[in-house]
């Protein structure tokens, strides 16, 4: 539980706007995603992480690559 206040919300929102500017002005040519105000804009990133990003990763085996063998010449 995070203690919320109008001041804190406003600060988180200002930080979000700064972040959106950064995310939308990326140096890559092929940028197609766009970022802006949504329901999470009143959360600081650490609050957002603490609430919503709660999945633990696991190490999985690599998917085995199929071995392709050349088909021999047949009549």
């Amino acid at each position: 539980t995070w203690s919320r206040s109008r001041g804190r919300d406003a600060a988180a929102f200002r930080e979000s706007l700064r972040r959106h500017r950064f995310l939308n002005s990326s140096p890559w040519e092929n940028t197609t995603a766009f970022y802006g105000v949504n329901q999470f804009s009143y959360l600081f990133p650490e609050e957002f992480k603490a609430i919503y990003l709660r999945s633990k990763p696991a190490m999985f085996p690599r998917q085995p690559t199929e071995m392709y063998k050349p088909i021999p010449n047949v009549p």
């Binding site: 979000s16 972040r19 959106h20 995310l23 990326s26 890559w28 092929n30 940028t31 197609t32 995603a33 766009f34 970022y35 802006g36 949504n38 329901q39 999470f40 804009s41 959360l43 990133p45 957002f48 992480k49 609430i51 919503y52 990003l53 709660r54 999945s55 633990k56 990763p57 696991a58 190490m59 999985f60 085996p61 690599r62 998917q63 690559t65």
Partner: protein, 214 residues
């Protein structure tokens, strides 16, 4: 592979839900995969209970977080039947695990597979076609601000923190992308979905991939 495929077009994907202030993305993704696998078998598309997984998958921490792999292991090992959401509704908080009689109708997991498909995203697309929607774990830090478009930057592989469900892909445009169902409500992203570039393991989308059969 087809140029475009989305399990939503087959009417086997349930509506986007909202996890509210609960860190239960891992349960939403797993239940979404079970719902779809069940419908792909020709059964009616049913909304199954996320709360049951949150409360009962004992190696996880409910709304405090968890791992899709633990949930799948639990479902597979115990052969628990997932009941309908209306039977065991979502409360957005941890609760005591409720048990049901064996006569209770529900869906149990027959098997699951988990693999790392990095550098093999075409194989991952084949797995999607074969098994149904895939549970993946991604780095979603920058998704806090996502409104739409194809995510190609601002996230990394090896930093997974959020579980979602891949329902399809689209290679018809200049940038091929995965179609990803999130659990942050329909007002987030593209009607609750994100589009993530295919082929470069963006956000680690191919690192931890699980498929379910029921």
């Amino acid at each position: 592979l087809p140029l475009r495929f989305d399990w939503r077009d087959k009417h086997v994907v349930t509506q986007v839900r909202s996890q509210q202030m609960c860190g239960g993305c891992w349960a939403f993704s797993v239940v979404g995969a079970v719902e779809s696998a069940h419908a792909i078998q020709g059964e009616p598309l049913e909304v199954l209970s996320v709360q049951q997984v949150l409360d009962c998958s004992y190696k996880d921490d409910g709304c405090g977080g968890g791992s899709p792999l633990n949930a799948l292991r639990w479902l597979n090992k115990t052969q628990v039947k997932l009941v309908e959401d209306s039977e065991y509704p979502f409360k957005a908080q941890n609760g005591l695990c409720r048990y049901f009689s064996s006569s209770q109708s529900g869906v149990s997991v027959k098997d699951y597979t988990s693999h790392d498909f990095s550098e093999q995203e075409d194989e991952m697309a084949r797995a999607l076609l074969t098994f149904g929607p895939l549970v993946v774990v991604v780095d979603a830090v920058s998704w806090q601000d996502y409104l739409g478009g194809i995510i190609q930057h601002h996230c990394s592989s090896g930093e997974a923190n959020h579980a979602v469900l891949v329902t399809g892909f689209d290679k018809t445009g200049r940038i091929p992308y995965w179609i990803v169902r999130n659990s942050w409500g329909r007002s987030w992203g593209v009607d609750g979905y994100a589009h993530v570039k295919m082929g470069s393991n963006i956000c680690g989308i191919a690192d931890s991939v699980s498929a379910v059969s029921v």
